[in-house]
Amino acid sequence: MRWGVITFPGSLDNADTVHALAQVLGDPTVSLWHKDRNLHGVDCVVLPGGFSYGDYLRAGALARFAPVMESVVEFARAGGLVFGICNGFQVLCESGLLPGALIRNRSLSFICASIHCRVEETDTPFTRSYGQAEVLALPVKHGEGCYVADADTLLALEDNRQVILRYVDAAGRATEAANPNGSLRNIAGIVNASRNVFGLMPHPEHACEPLCGGADGLGFFRSVRASLSDGAPTRTTSVPPGL
């Protein structure tokens, strides 16, 4: 399979993501430029972390209008796999590919820490290599990671099993103390209703080698590769009408 990693002005983690995919995983990986409308035939597009366009106005609000995003939206609507990490998650929410929004951390502080999160659903192209309720140690580093959505959206996310990752303690309990940023329902990552667009605040690309403190993040990328080699990248579950 072939990965594409987008670089926006202000992206920070594009090089680390390319390293994880090309060197650690050993897959062909293409760097995609924000001005480029051509996705160069990649099978999965990754939107990396960083501060695209300086986070001006709102985090992710301006990146959404980059020329490459028109192609990403089209790719996603056709069932292509889209994977947003941190700022990439914010961009996906701003562009309407994922519901809800990410606002300032409850603490008002930028957080840089190792946290735990629990895999809530394994029937997605992004998490199938993990065990149900597996607890992962992953780094977070963000100022705007507090996931919010209105009550109806939250209910729909839970009903359709779109909450994929939740902040937990080391024992796997979703407590208030284990929630680093105030996210509603301890939400750390979600998919869209068709399960082909995924966004998460933790950084799996920084957790792919023991040298960097652990390799718990590798499973997300392995999952995508396994899904694509099955020829079933966009397995969808039935969604009630109106969602």
Partner: protein, 79 residues
């Protein structure tokens, strides 16, 4: 013409910055200050047909200046 756009958080959306400002006001002795919410104020000049300006401003707010998932907006057009 000149336009003023006000973007505010929807009721119920957490506003940790507003809370911090409220606490600071209380510590300065302004105990009467309650329910502080921090929003954004955007000024701009709108060229072209003035009759179209309100509709165009509404588009600007919906497409970029406010995020409908968390924010409300209103605007004033002057001369």
């Amino acid at each position: 013409m000149r336009a003023k756009v006000y973007v505010t958080l929807k009721p119920g959306v957490l506003d940790p910055a507003g809370k911090a400002i409220e606490r600071a006001l209380h510590s300065l002795g302004f105990e009467e200050a309650q329910d502080v919410r921090l929003g954004k104020y955007i000024e701009l000049r709108v060229d072209g047909d003035t009759a179209n300006a309100p509709g165009r401003l509404d588009d600007m707010c919906r497409k970029l200046l406010a995020n409908g998932a968390i924010e409300d907006y209103r605007f004033e057009v002057g001369d």
